[in-house]
Amino acid sequence: MTIQPLLSVRHLTTEFHLADKQIARALEDVSFDVMPGQTIGLVGESGCGKTTTLMAIMRLLPASGRITAGNVYFNGTDLLTLSEHEMRSLRWKDMAIIFQGAMNALNPVMKIGDQIREAILLHNLMQRQAAEQRVDELLEMVGIPRLRRDQYPYQYSGGMRQRAMIAMALACSPDLLFADEPTTALDVMIQAQVLELLKQIQKNLGLAIVLVTHDLGVVAEMCDTVVVMYGGKVAEYGPAELVYNQPQHPYTQRLLEAFPDLSRSIELSAGSHRPDALSGGQDLATIPGTPPRLNALPPGCRFNPRCNKSMEICTQSAPKLVDMATPGSGARQLAACHLLNGTEIEDL
């Protein structure tokens, strides 16, 4: 018996109309599955289409953007065929999102408690009295004292705001939680707290999480599966251990090299208490250049101008995703690069 994926994104393609009649293909042919209770990480540099993917799934793209191709199956129904009204009743009840930057996602002139209650009442899930109780419950779940439910966002610290956002996301008990860089702009201690909270909530409530981040450490700690995105396309997609230990796509490899390995690179030189990474350890690798502008994509593979293994063919045709996992292992590790000779796949 196979478990049906909770969310199944297939060939999702979006276009944005820019000011001077130009068209930016923010996403092209993005496909991945989210299993119930699973955590999946969307990784990539800024501007690679991670947030756009989430917004496209929830059908919340700004007016200039639209989905031109693909399907988004949620529990078997294609979200792209639903009416706006049906979509509205589905949002937050089935899939909730924690936005990037909690301060901006909270209404500055509304009390935190009222903002959490808003979603519950909007979906007519319960009476006012019960909703109040639910808010208290949620706040307790994320560790915010009851006394502070009547305070405004500016009276909260960054970590508390993020936790309030998490409480809000859980208000209607969704099955799927999108977390858009939930730890960005928080200090390391608070980051750890927030991640711990997310983990705990997932364990207790059994919801699936799509975690968008550019922090590979967060992905390593949280995710079962990783989708590496570059320039609006999936570069590599597979189980977290495989992607981490045997990265196949050159972009994933360089991304991992660019991440500091604490066990290796910090050595204390004699007589000094200062970690002297420059002399003792390795230099941190970087990937030169920036991600492509989406209205002026390079021909062929989108990574080729920055790739250290770029070949002739890379500028001519875009590579397809191939399966690089050992045949028969049951796992699948997909990557899109001309260097790779994997099994061709059909269903994605």
Binding site: F99, N104, P108, R148
Partner: protein, 318 residues
Amino acid sequence: MNENRTLFKRNLSDFWKAFRRNKLGLLGGFLVLTAILAATFAPLLSPYMPTEVIRDANGRGLTFAPPSVHAPLGTDDAGRDIWSQLIYGARVSLTVGFLAGFIAMFVGSLFGILAGYFGGRVDNLLMRVTDVLLVIPDLPLMLVLVATLRQMDLRISPLVVLVAVIGLLYWTSTARLIRSQVLTIKERQFVARSRAIGAGHAHIIRKHILPQIMPLIVTNTVLIISTAILVESGLAFLGLGDPTKPSWGAMLNFAFDRSAVTNGAWWFYLPPGFAIVWVTLGCVLLGNVLEEMLNPRLTAHHLESNQNMIAIQKQGGE
């Protein structure tokens, strides 16, 4: 519920505390409030009816009599008490001003919110209508409108015509102001979050947009009321008011018609002019101070006294 009420009371008293500190605002409030009180209690405050002719011992009307014990502000050409006319005129001027102001505020806010929130074609259409109204000179347009409407024998009071014309012409600046504010608010992320929650347009406008532009609306209403009073005075001065219910503008009209200036009857034309300045100045002062205070960014600081903050932080903590 009870808790809420005390909280509201506390907010109100804090608001008053902050308001009291502002001298100009206090002055504005005083000016507006006295005018409203005078209009409300007109029968108690005026010794005569505004149409009543004051007669001397011989039964002759006291025409153009300077201020005296009998008539505190003198009398007009027919021997009627100026003070009483002034007090009763406040009723007309303020009623027209407030009603027209509210209509203008309502239409302007509606246009501004719809145009700003929905954007695109709706915005284009509504803003072009606004532009057209903005470029037509107000005064000639109003003169033509009022004169035409009155000739049509609609059996409605000339004051209603005035209210409608002023109210339906003076919303353009409000609409533009509110549109620009809505444009910035709707791009804020909490509006996106509200959409993600599953909220519809009506809910977003009511819960997230409206509270944020409310200060702007309140302030603008006060300012528009002052404009409406001024415009009404202007139109009435030109003879477009209701002669049976003279407003301050109509009083000025009478004064000039009946050659109060050449007769040196300053008590005839100065008081209504002064009254107009009194109310409009009050509205402007009040409007400016309200704007300062109702700004949502400042509100919380006004309302939350330092002691409260510390107490809550001690109990709550992070």
